[in-house]
Symmetry: D2
């Protein structure tokens, strides 16, 4: 039986991307989309590129009861804080919830309060939320009612480093992640900083030393093989392009291995994964090579002169970094083929 799916916060970019992907999902029908700003309007007025699929969808104001009646599964593409106010009701009403906000990613409510500047209003749910990175938590996701979809930066960094940490190959306490993101990560709300005229021909960092993805990365990498990550060094930058996350990660090897041995550890770890490609020697990730797809490309280089292992990962922030991962989580949690509605290859050029 086809699942009835609702998309909450459908007018943002991740909402639009969910509709784009799910429109081709054979086991899903989108029955409900919410948008406060566009309530009463057809979805195709929000996203004209989806004219044809979105004509029959009318944006609704948010109403947890109404959603619960219309849907079996809810994707929450809402801002953080908003998400945790509606999710508890949906869960009580028996829906499966895949939350794309940051509200259920951190296990510790105090850490949430520290980084998000507000108390968590549903702390009891934190323990039961599965961290939605199927490559690392597939079993948990399969049985969870609430799935916390990972952040875009964390996805790139966690996928790149976890296998190396598991094998005890790199120093957990000296990781530096220099990350770069396309502008779509900032969302669709108008702001001076994301205007075309400001962004094009510009490259700049933002939230230097204080980005909210830091505790998420620390949580997920800590404890891998007993690692003490400490405080991760993470600098996000804004790229003059729409889509793409690229992380250049500097690590210090703990053992004397060749580049090829490090590569094998990654390749072996992801051998059966549909969406992770470990690149051969001399080839490095490029955001253009994963655009529009749910792929994560990982490459590495051992700098023997300086004793540094550089690990690099690229994803499309709106797909593997958000909506594609959410669909993958739906598939995992529904026992469907993991790539259903995610078969399309990257759009290049």
């Amino acid at each position: 039986m086809v699942m009835r799916v609702g998309i909450l916060g459908a007018s943002g970019y991740t909402g639009g991307e969910l509709v784009r992907l799910l429109a081709c999902h054979p086991e899903v029908t989108i029955t409900h989309v919410t948008s406060e700003r566009y309530a009463g309007q057809p979805f195709s007025a929000v996203y004209p590129h989806l004219t044809g699929v979105g004509d029959s969808l009318i944006c609704q104001a948010m109403d947890a009861q109404q959603i619960s009646e219309a849907c079996d599964v809810a994707f929450c593409a809402l801002p953080h804080v908003t998400s945790m106010t509606v999710v508890p009701t949906l869960l009580e009403n028996g829906l499966k919830v895949i939350d794309l906000s940051a509200d259920f990613r951190l296990k510790d409510a105090q850490v949430y309060a520290d980084w998000y500047g507000t108390d968590h209003t549903a702390p009891a749910l934190l323990a039961q939320a599965a961290y939605g990175l199927p490559e690392l938590h597939r079993a948990e996701i399969a049985k969870a009612q609430l799935i916390a979809n990972p952040g875009c930066y964390p996805t790139s960094i966690i996928l790149a480093l976890t296998p190396l940490l598991r094998e005890g190959l790199i120093d957990p306490a000296r990781i530096i992640a220099d990350s770069k993101s396309g502008v779509s990560g900032a969302g669709r709300s108008p702001g001076q900083a994301t205007l075309f005229s400001e962004v094009s021909e510009g490259f700049k960092p933002y939230k230097v030393t204080g980005h909210r993805h830091i505790p998420e990365i620390e949580q997920e990498l800590s404890g891998v093989n007993g690692s003490d990550i400490g405080a991760i060094r993470f600098t996000p930058h804004l790229l003059p392009q729409i889509r793409g996350i690229f992380s250049t990660i500097y690590t210090i090897p703990l053992q004397d291995r060749t580049e090829e041995e490090y590569r094998s550890v990654l390749a072996d770890h992801y051998r059966d994964e549909m969406f992770v490609r470990v690149l051969p020697k001399g080839r490095f990730p490029d955001t253009h090579h994963v655009r529009g797809s749910n792929l994560c490309d990982i490459g590495l280089a051992l700098d023997e002169r300086s004793g540094t292992l550089v690990v690099m990962a690229a994803i499309d922030n709106l797909v593997k970094g958000a909506s594609g991962a959410a669909v993958q989580n739906l598939n995992v949690s529904s026992g469907l083929p993991e790539n259903m509605a995610l078969e399309q290859w990257p759009l290049f050029p």
Copy 2:
């Protein structure tokens, strides 16, 4: 039974796009790809974004006999002139051929010689080639062995104007098409003019008054309802973006109709088409809204002050303007659902 498909000239952008699309086609298996430059190398070395699909494909030097044995269908994504040297052999060997070059689009060998500066070497095939615009020539395509895939600019202009010419609503002799194309239309061969540093922040015309798509447009629009098109006024320009064709077409109405009546003519004509969207009043096409898809968006505006009907069309030059149309032609000619492997919605943003 799955069709065995070959892609000739697979290292160009239209070749890569054919692989991207056909990799998801359930009735097709790609058995052969050719590239002189990359002969002997895996296809994923040519297009790393297709790592996973292209690993098992090894680029071959062109050999018509070898192709004939390996394939039921050949897509020729070759330069013009090259195409007409290999197509006759493929046809003799019983293959279906979908040719993306300009070699079989023009019905008159003399016109070909005039515009392409060389004699046609297979003029006998011109009459039997179907012009591969299914929206207008579906029946012919269905029974043809050789399908001439249309040019990208002509696709946008012919789809926009044909319904209006059929109804005798616009003056065929005073059409002006101001067209703009993304850079990918210039192909993947390195050239100074298509370097990022030259193109970005630039907008310029090229081949003003003499582009080779002119005779193709004139051929297809002439004779529609007895129209005498005469010499079309057509100016192509280069856009600082990868994909997209946009045509702004100025026409003179012959009858006193409202804008809504013109729109109805277009909408009625394309009512059953999967890939043409006639936009409602006040909405205009945008190349971003069709990117990565096989859609053609058409909009119009009647300028009552000046007595001008402006018709506008947008397509993705690599999809509806090339490889997507080729796949659509394959589907039509094979009796398959016309959108097989073409279901994906535009990638926005």
Copy 3:
């Protein structure tokens, strides 16, 4: 004696551009900048790229009296309607005013009301305002107290066509101008339509048939050699680039001349102009070739097959299309060398 200059509405892009240019003007000192939004803040907080020049400038809320005391010349880079509320006071107080808004470009207050949807509140000033295109109205500008800086689109079209109309070479009643503009023309106010993620990889028309530059173009071209322009056909489009206006103008020749003869008419007309370059045969304008400069490049092609003369012009919308022209007007009206502070060559690549 150095002129004391004020810039009203300094936080918009044309305001910022005025500061950039005037910072190098040896006969000018910027004594006053206004911005409602940034009042009290240093100008370098508005435009960090001008850190060093803008540190000592503190943004002021608008106060016509204060401006009058601080300045000899006022550049009004304000929205239309706002401009006409402050300009009369400035003029009464003896300032020279160079107005970059649309408020004083149209000679007929009724036309203003028709197109701008509001009555003109200072109609008496319309007759005395000089239309600030020095190449065509130098003498008037030199003696005017109020100079109405032209619109960006009109500048490109009027410079391209006036010499041809003066010689009676083209049909004034059948002009079609297909124009394209970089995004900076939309200003710095945040809006969804000008976000990087919306604009990049997109090309689209806007205000089809109804752009407010239409009456300005019609006014300036009408009456040139007795021409009756009628209603101009003008379609503006948005380019995925920051700067640049490109107009492709389709005209019908009235006489049987060669392309070279048309080119000579333009070249002769602009022979002594510093900022107009008429390009040789086979070379066409490119917005990238004028970026950051006050130049207007004009090219043309005679399409003999269709009997069409295509005239093309490119400018930087923020320089020759706005702030550079304003500085040129200041120079003309002050008897200074016309290129003072405008010497820099285009930034390419």
Copy 4:
């Protein structure tokens, strides 16, 4: 007396940029430009944006004797290796030479051979060449006949770190520089990797662990206050934009200072410099804010959680990273005001 200047290798981007800048230099006349490819053609055919300045300049094939007669100063914008074959003759003939290639930057001919894969053919000149970073080597430059213009990446990194190393504030052995460059750094020679369609929407590293700027950075930072830099960790990446270098540099503080104290060290060091701006707390560099100018913007952030001092620098690779620095060196070495022909403010937006 005006200096007669020659530009060798004028058809590359740095050559074009030298012409753009020097065209406004009151103490210079460009008497000679060379280009093998364009020999015999006017310079404006190479760079149409310089039509007007470049019309009278005819490109010459390289001839050291001819250059020596025509010029007092030669700017060599030639590829490395080519440069060292012509420079000795120019010096013997008494010209001042400002070399933009890598040939005279390294003091040790063996290091040159190791990194450039070829023996140095004029090793005796290495000792007398001044490293052309005026902010750090002004006195040497003033008296040198041969000035080795720094590499673009090194400029950003050396300016950012030298003051901190001089004060012994950061660990010299643990520096990591993650750098990003606009595409123009790859030059104007056509190549697939720098096509618009490949670069746009892409971000990727290149020459990971092995870029030739590494020994230059190590040479210039080593020995500053006795530092032993060891092997620098440096990863260059390609940005989808034309101009701009951005370096994010991770350093480990050796002393317990506040962020403000580090900032003061930098600000004090560059207090009298025209072209270095040390940004206030909370503001970070952006390549867009230095575009087209000779400025270097430096910002910093102290990450107290992880004990990391992040230092960031942005320059325009073609100006402060190449041709602007070369003009600055000319000014220094000629006793002219250091900003002559370099007064223009950044082009934003």
